[in-house]
Amino acid sequence: MDAIPEDALMEILLRVSKKSRCRCKRVSKEWLNLIISAKSSPLYSSSTTTTTWGLVFKQLDGSMTFCRLDEQGRLTVDDSLLFSYAEDSRSPYTIGSCNGLLYFCGSVGRDLGFKIRYFLDNPVTKQSSMLPELPILEDKPDLRPAGLGLTFDDDDIDASNINNWKLVAFLQDHPNPRPSIKSRGLTISVFDSRRWAWKKTRPARFTDDSDPLAIALPFPPAHLEFSVLIKLPDVDNWDKEGVLWKSEGGCLNYCHVCFKQGLCIWVLKKEDSSADDHIIYWWHKTYSVSMDDLMSMLSSSKDALNRFCPMICPYAVNEELSLL
């Protein structure tokens, strides 16, 4: 059989889905090299930059539904992820993203005894994975997550190896008002993807008074630098009921939610002006949807409006991951 002309094969590999392209890497060295070199193709960048947002909605029966919203405004409900409405009304919570993966935790099923579990979601493969239960210290049964971080190992030969990640959980005794950082009694537990297990928890020790949980919030709404630098996008006089800031993939995401009107997602784009050293920021309106549309997409009744849960997290897909 004749070999497929290289240009044609390149075109083909650029056109298949990301997941398929990832599989194609294993076909042969020629295919792998083509996919690697495809990255510099102008077709590549336009076809693979995706941003997906994870949304969590509270349903009438109290259950939580996880959805993904893509740049084209397509909303897909993930039926495999149904959270229970636990006594902790904030659950699921602690939503963040790193390297294109969304991570969050939530209470699951009655049969699981309202246990809080961690999840990772891959927007490219549209799959979620529930991590094993956190180890609980014998003498501190009330220990619960207070902060969470996802990291990728840089010391690896291939730093972009997305298979090696760690989830770092800060745990604290509950309930605990916010006393000084030293007396908060934080405990750390690390989940290692390669072992697919939590490492033993150990008490956190801090070298200074900095609060790791405060650092975990990249851009609080009133972040001084940004409120001065950049005017907030004009959201047509919407009542502000929920805003969410998140930096990911080199972009600052701003999500505006009004439970009567809908939601609106803006991304702050940065451009290095070639003329001088000035950096130009501008708001790029990515997506907005009315609450009616949202509810019909979710095929939920209008009564659910008031129970719409403001859990929204934007997350971007980096280049390496988009190959998946």
Binding site: M1, D2, A3, I4, P5, D7, A8, E11, I12, R15, V16, S17, K19, S20, C22, R23, C24, K25, R26, V27, S28, K29, E30, W31, L32, L120, N122, T125, Q127, S129, D158, S160, N161, I162, N163, S193, L323, L324
Partner: protein
Amino acid sequence: MSESTEKKMVRLRSSDGEVFEVEESVAKVAKTLQDMLEEDCADAVIPITCVRAPILTKVIDYCKDQVMISSSSSTTNNPNERTEQERKAWGQKFMEGVDSSTLCELLVASNFLNIEGLLNLGVDKMVSMIQGKYPQEIRDMFNVVNDFTPEEEEEIRNQNAWAFERDPYYKKRSSSK
């Protein structure tokens, strides 16, 4: 549309020696042939060295169709003109039943003869054929030799599998662990 008195004919010879006589307009759909004809190779039999007769037949079918569409495009009400949808449907029908080896040959032929439309049809077809397939299935389909060592393949798999990939065709060949 009426039979014009004299149509210039061009002869093409496939790699396996079969000679096809086609109208010049049909041959000119292929940019490569167009260039050759304009550089005056008029009477000779043009050898298409890398294309076998059954493939060349298919290519000529495609070119004839293109000529049919474009021939009367100057008239206002062209009955042959197709909407975008019809064009898509026609393309799908044209590629229907094309197996993977024929597809490879068609890609080579349309690449060599420089027929963009046909190349695009081939690319579309191949995209639909490999979409969602596992590496081994693709190798089998297109006769690609797996030139990775077990260790290399495992390495790529590890880099990209993330937590979810479940490949029924993949048997761990290396015995690390």
